[in-house]
């Protein structure tokens, strides 16, 4: 038997209370400070950036749904299936399944002109969904992205009533597969996030924009509205454009041209 004291054990015991206290009181703080240097996404977003979009309806092709499909794939909406036991009445399911981006076709009854455009969350500066949410689960980030906090959403659906763009979806059924980028569960509301997971990882495009460009239409331009050098800011300066329901003075981040 050696005379040496086993210091490892003693050190372990002496550090145990501190470790236990840290684990109990401030796990978030420690994890946060360790993470701070690893990626910019641990820094809060600022209002220096305002993410926004210009949709050129003239370039939006009739019959094309590339943006909608890309959105569904990106956010796991394509793997969301009709609940077991439901009848196969597809119109019912079409109205109950979550849809973040819809393809809308408008016809001017006088001239007969047909306009196609994608419709999704317009990421308002003054979002009505945020105003009406009783728990504050609907919120607008400083960089202009309107999101739902899935931890505090109680599923009252007041935001869906308040949205002039019908942009939000309620999860009416059990969810089998929960995608990492857009985890969803029964009973909460969700909508377009401007592909916030991409933005937070330093990317500057959305899935719909990429898909539209891949099809060769280039109808969607996404970027920072506050940066005068950004493609979207330049396009907004160049083309006459409007915000849908601008009478409500919500200042949406999505602008349309050619409608």
């Amino acid at each position: 038997m050696s005379d040496k004291t086993n210091l490892a054990r003693r050190n372990f015991l002496s550090k145990l209370p501190a470790a236990a206290a840290t684990a109990a009181i401030a796990p978030g703080a420690v994890l946060h400070s360790k993470d701070a240097s690893s990626a910019p996404r641990s820094e809060p977003v600022t209002s220096k950036v305002r993410w926004g979009m210009l949709v050129d309806a003239n370039k939006c092709a009739d019959g094309c749904s590339a943006c909608v499909e890309a959105c569904n794939k990106e956010n796991g909406l394509d793997i969301h299936t009709n609940p077991a036991g439901a009848d196969v009445d597809s119109t019912k399911w079409d109205q109950q399944k979550p849809v973040w981006m819809r393809s809308v076709k408008l016809k001017d009854l006088q001239s007969g002109k047909i306009t196609n455009l994608p419709m999704m969350c317009q990421h308002c500066e003054h979002p009505p969904c945020q105003d009406v949410c009783p728990t504050g689960a609907s919120f607008r980030r400083a960089d202009g992205v309107v999101l739902v906090d899935r931890h505090t959403c109680i599923g009252c659906r007041y935001c869906m009533m308040a949205c002039p763009y019908k942009a939000r979806s309620f999860i009416h059924e059990n969810v089998d597969i929960k995608p990492t980028l857009a985890p969803r569960g029964k009973g909460c509301v969700e909508s377009c996030t401007f592909c916030v997971h991409r933005l937070d990882n330093g990317q500057t495009t959305t899935a719909c924009q990429d898909a539209c460009a891949k099809e060769g239409h280039h109808a969607i331009i996404f970027g920072d509205l506050n940066d005068p050098e950004s493609q979207v800011a330049k396009a907004l300066e160049k083309y006459p454009n409007q915000q849908i329901r601008d009478d409500l003075k919500l200042n949406p981040g999505v602008h349309y041209t050619g409608i």
Binding site: Q95, V132, I154, Y158, F170, I171, N174, G187, V189
Partner: protein, 235 residues
Amino acid sequence: MKKMHFREWGIESPRYWGLLAILAGIMSIAGIAWYYMEHNGHWVTGMNNHVVWGTPHVFAVFLIVAASGALNVASIASVFGKKDYKPLAPLSGLLAITLLVAGLLVLVLDLGRPDRLIVAMTHYNFKSIFAWNIYLYTGFLAIVVIYLWTMMERKMNRFTKAAGTFAFVWRLALTTGTGSIFGFIVARQGYDAAIYAPMFIVMSFAFGLAIYLLVLMFAFDWDKRELGEKLFLRL
């Protein structure tokens, strides 16, 4: 006026328990329906992303609006000092509480996440009428309980008018709040109108009183007591 005596309902016990059993049966069917919806999700209700609020909201809003109206008779007695209605006042308060609890139950069970009720009670966004209503509803329950206490406990009788007046003002605020849920929905033109708050107040007077009268008629009929036309015609 003679002194009031509160007595049990004068019907035979089998009838009484039978009525309770029927009501319990209805409640258990409702419980099963709720469990079915909660287990499977809202898709079983037929509500969807276009019809966002459906039948549960019709019932919930009706019951909540009727609840404040059911308090009318008590208000007539203690706020507006019509002594003839005093014996009818406790039933009025009791019905108000019952209807409000029923309405809130429907509303809570319709939430996508009723298990997160605690979140609704700890996170508030006071720009939202809903957040205000949480206080208006729970406050109404508390006030009516106190109001009932001042009516039923002789020592507290001197506070009845104060409690009744406060309850009356509160019920106007409550119905205004309920109407404002719809009145502030700017996005839907069918709702966005200032008329909703006063309209809900007027509706509450009608619905609440109607339910009160039906319950009163039923209770008197089973008890084989005459209600008298005078009271009815005045209300």
